[in-house]
Symmetry: C2
Subunit: 358 residues, 2 copies
Amino acid sequence: MEASLVRLPERNTRNRVTISHVADALGLTKSTVSRAMNGYSDISEATQLRVKRMAEKMGYHPLSHAQAIKTGRTRSLGLVLQFADHDAQRPFLAEFLAGVSAGASTEGWTLTVAATDSHSGLIETFRAILRDGKADGFILPRALCNDPRVHLLRKADVPFVLFGRQDNAEGCAWFDVLGEEAMQDAVRHLAGLGHRRIGFINGGQQYAYAALRADGFAEGMRLCGLDIDEGLIAQNAVTLEDGARAAAKILDHANPPTAIVCAVDFAALGAYRAAAERGLSVGRDLSIIGYDGIPEGAFAQPPLTTFAVDNRAAGHALATLLIRRVKGEPLETLRKTVPATFVKRDSTGPKSPERSTK
Amino acid sequence: MEASLVRLPERNTRNRVTISHVADALGLTKSTVSRAMNGYSDISEATQLRVKRMAEKMGYHPLSHAQAIKTGRTRSLGLVLQFADHDAQRPFLAEFLAGVSAGASTEGWTLTVAATDSHSGLIETFRAILRDGKADGFILPRALCNDPRVHLLRKADVPFVLFGRQDNAEGCAWFDVLGEEAMQDAVRHLAGLGHRRIGFINGGQQYAYAALRADGFAEGMRLCGLDIDEGLIAQNAVTLEDGARAAAKILDHANPPTAIVCAVDFAALGAYRAAAERGLSVGRDLSIIGYDGIPEGAFAQPPLTTFAVDNRAAGHALATLLIRRVKGEPLETLRKTVPATFVKRDSTGPKSPERSTK
DNA sequence: TCCCTTGCCGAAACCGGTTTCGGTCCGCAG
DNA sequence: CTGCGGACCGAAACCGGTTTCGGCAAGGGA
């Protein structure tokens, strides 16, 4: 009769209001109350109202895991974090989490998060959560080009939403910020300041956003009638160090640019360093423009002109989208994009005439 | 018969291995299998082994929410984050979360997190999670002096563990880093370098750690036979700006110190700024020592001498402790402390003779 | 030999919901 | 007046576990 450990006290009988209590109070049966609460049409409007009022009054909240045993759903969103990535994820995380959790809780849902280091553990983590029914769907941050998580969930027929887009949109709902539009506007902004030789430092190519932002940059150049010099383009810069290296390469070009567009703020800050090492004053000799809106950008010298992304809003939107997805709304209505917001600070300025004579 | 939305497909019948399957395969009943899995002593050793083997072989994993309906427990840890706080929480968060989630998942538990902005929403969030039975216990990061969360959970008789200690230890399990020991060692380190006038910038007084670290500093001064000048002590510095202000006050003292101990790294970096504004070279004219081990410290000029806290390990430990707490282990065995690790870098150096003549 | 433990397991109730299947009442056409 | 189809709700099964209670057989003491 004894378990190996101490016998645990019952916790569920803690004077909880159950569906039976509500039913008794109204002289109805559990089944009627259940269907009324769930809005079934075979319960009259009048009864539905009566039931919902009484439930409210008595403080009845259906136990999600009691429902889950039959429905298989527990009203919780899954979020699997990967920490093997570069540090860029850190400032991002807090805001994002706040948004997701806020979005979930306003709908009465909760968030279960898991983290993995290893790349292999990733899929295993998803499987474990699904096996235990701990999440009804997943939010996938940082969409990759050919995302293994998408393959897994698509095959398992589990709802998910991406932060970022996906070429093969089958089964994909998403929320994304229009990085391509931002890159295009960045070029326009610089061209408007008189810059004609403009470099581009892209982010990690494994990410879905990289190709988009590259396209945006190219489109901007085309619209402004500017030529793209492949020597002024770098890839895969996601950290400050990456950015410094990439900018160094670009600035050491025989015919260097007077401005650089960066797909990632950290890379932009790295470009600051490369500029300093070459005696270039950012904002005067060299204009730099970033993307992300990390707090460090505002404190940099000079403050970084950038396109800010509201990660909290993104998290909120993703939570809402996923909930609607789990509820069965059609995919087409669950794809949203918003523009980044341009933040003009002091790292971009008119092309300096001295350097142009070079 | 129709729900308001689209009828959702059943998900639970997805060829899941249930306890009945295992029972049938062994010619036993559900109840026997259940008790065998849970290690009840009224099931023979032999049968327990048979059952567990078969469960393993068939891939049987009990559904936590099916268990929960009777036991009230779902094998999940709760974590409620507050974002109204200062930004200092950010670098902390990712590592901590990784640790908690790793600790939970190695035990087969999961983590449900929620976030609140408002101070009032905090308690409400706890209540909602408890009401829905979404967590069996809570991890409380950043213990406050008279923590309202502790009051709530103590009264509700819900298990919890603190990151930080608590004066009234009733019902409290915790994990903490010995900040007082670090402060004491900081003074010793500086005294060993010849410093005799040492300032102290403390962190937020609402936090439980503040008093401890202040004590540690005082004890260190006493042990080294140094006098404490109240004019060289400041409180409530948790951000860089706070630290700059506090350090300014201390450095503008008629008889300024040659070294400052900071209870928080951010404050230490603020002290850098104040020092620079007064033409003092950190590490030569003024020694500064911090606590936390934030990444920014390593990149500061000069790199910051500090006491590093392993937040990932802390998260891991807290998860493990909470699980044991929920399982019913006695409180006394669930209080752990570890020392911070001293990281000697370049912001501390021997007392410069020039300044001492002043 | 008989009775009483003790060890071990089965039968059935139970947890808090959802869902299937009827059954009653009513209005209305035949 | 009868038959019939909705509208609306109750009865009972069910979901996947846990727990209570009791039964049976083996073993030990009197």
